[in-house]
């Protein structure tokens, strides 16, 4: 359990927020640049001392301005992955990892370091020096380094942002596996909501040093408290099992309902997350079926209707939560209101698949 409450002021910026993360849980901090996301992590790790506040983890108090307590960063043992990875340039990969393994007897360090690297499929690069590694490889070394020596908490600062589109998808998958297996609380910073939804159990939208809204990704997506959050929240995520459909399509049998959806993305058979943007979803009267190219049709019950100017966010229940964005016109035509049943339809090519 990581409890965080701090307020501090920099010239032209002040931060004041409070949050809690249970062990094994991941809280994603999402927000625009300059929102104060990294500052939260720095305070948690003890790299920045806030003006006021209290930070505790696993019952141990790390910082308490009231009781003038301030544990040094090295005594807090956070697994910190920095925005630019901060690998030590003068050490090769395994030494970077071994650096954190001081409790381990010297002669066993290399073995253990390589073992850690292996968890991220980087064992072959054990002797490579950072400057020869690509962004994706560096990120994995940084993760291996952060995981070494059993951290009390994981602090990940935009672990994927330095990666280009091609390596990001894979890195995200690896990361989510890691987080699922982790027993410690995790704070993950990102400025991409989809990433937050994908990796965080809960998401806190941060702006101007404050938490604007905190909740599950689906809550934020279906009931954004402000149009800023609405703009910020992206794809809703559905989970299910992937199989191969007709003509190379991937079909996903969704959890919680017997329906299947299909996607043009390819995926290994097995558990996957399928994401679709609210504005890609068309709502039809339950009685209707479009015979168009749209492949996906799900019967859904309207849970919430949130108006955002000319747009309306519609919270849906299809056995699992889903949110659509339609025009006020359509909302009126369809007489959308909680309890009403509709058909949500969207295109296979609008369905992005991320493997677990």
């Amino acid at each position: 359990m990581l409890e965080f409450e701090a307020s501090t002021a920099f010239p032209g910026f002040d931060l004041d927020l409070k949050l809690e993360v249970a062990a094994g849980q991941c809280l994603a901090l999402a927000g625009p640049s300059g929102a104060g996301k990294s500052t939260v992590l720095r305070i948690a790790a003890g790299l920045v001392r806030p003006d006021r506040g209290r930070v505790s983890c696993g019952g141990q108090v790390w910082y308490d301005s009231g009781r003038a307590r301030d544990l040094a960063p090295e005594r807090r043992r956070c697994g910190y992955v920095f925005q630019d990875y901060a690998l030590f340039p003068h050490m090769n990969a395994w030494r970077n990892v071994a650096y954190g393994l001081r409790e381990v007897p010297r002669r066993r360090r290399r073995a253990l370091a390589v073992e850690l690297l292996d968890r991220f499929e980087m064992a072959d690069f054990a002797d490579a020096s950072p400057e020869t590694l690509s962004g994706g490889e560096r990120q994995r070394v940084a993760l291996a380094r952060a995981m070494g020596g059993g951290p009390e908490a994981l602090l990940l600062d935009e672990p994927l942002s330095a990666l280009d589109a091609r390596t990001r998808a894979r890195a995200a998958r690896e990361l989510s596996e890691l987080l699922r297996s982790a027993e410690v609380p995790t704070l993950l910073v990102t400025h991409d909501f989809a990433e937050a939804a994908r990796l965080g159990d809960r998401v806190a939208v941060v702006d101007g040093g404050r938490i604007v809204q905190l909740g599950s990704a689906t809550d934020l997506a279906s009931k954004p408290c402000s149009s800023f959050v609405a703009d910020f929240t992206g794809a809703a995520v559905l989970t299910g099992n992937a199989g191969t459909g007709p003509l190379g399509l991937t079909s996903v049998l969704l959890d919680g309902c017997r329906a299947a959806i299909s996607s043009t993305d390819t995926a290994q058979p097995g558990r996957v997350a399928a994401s679709v943007y609210p504005w890609e979803i068309t709502l039809l009267p339950e009685t209707e079926r479009s015979r168009g190219s749209a492949q996906n049709h799900l019967v859904a019950e309207v849970v919430s209707v949130t108006s955002l100017g000319a747009r309306v966010r519609v919270g849906l229940d299809v056995g699992q939560p889903l949110s659509a964005e339609v025009t006020r016109v359509a909302a009126v035509e369809l007489r959308l209101e909680p309890g009403r049943r509709v058909v949500a339809t969207w295109k296979a090519s609008a369905t992005r698949i991320m493997e677990f």
């Binding site: 910190y80 030590f88 003068h90 650096y99 954190g100 380094r145």
Partner: protein, 268 residues
Amino acid sequence: MNGSPWFRAVLVAALAVTLLFLTLPVVAIFVDIPPADLLASLGEEGAVEALKLSLQTTVAALLIILAFGTPAAWLLATRRFRGRTVLVTLIELPLVLPPAVAGIALLAALGPGGILGGLLDSLGIRLVFETAGVVVALTFVASPFYIRQAQSAFEAIDPTLLQASRTLGAGEARTFGRIALPAARAGLLSGTALAWGRALGEFGATLVFAGSFRGITQTAPLAIVERFGSDFNSAIALSAVLVVASIVILLSAKYLSTSVGRGRDARI
């Protein structure tokens, strides 16, 4: 990205003038000693002895400077506190003291009759007229150069490297030793070269504080000055030798540092 010819000419001219002005005098003394004397002065065992002592004492002084100056510089580089600028200035004081005055100052502080004289005596430490005294004098005049460079080298390190080290369970000490020192290596080396150069040339403070006793406190510069009292030519010849020795030392240090430097550039 090439500049306009005339400005490039100005630059080259300025560099040429500077180089000429700084090196011509050195060349000049070489030319006006008969080469015979040059060789002779080398053969002369007193000269060799002096050079050996110079090497020993400067190295000893450097070790002390590195041992104390490095952590001091680290502290000045990583902490912000009131009066920091004043401290940095105080460290530069030895620069402005005329060498002889520096020597007297050292006597007044560490000499038998000096402030700490009694203390040192009770510890059985004798500095005046001892090789140890030479080391003290060299340390006094050379430290500022190293400390200054070291400080700015430490300030140039990417802070996230240091923070990463801390979060990995390394205290400040380990971070300093395992991360900061390697990262600042280039700067530290060039600072060392400057300090070494200054120490090799030191004369006034050493003479007054440690005296000029052959084999004990007579470093190369002192040997040179003593020869001024007996044989002018051999004095000049010996300084030529000292200059060459110094160039070798400085260059080797420089090549080390720049090669390391390139290493770091490549990374960025």
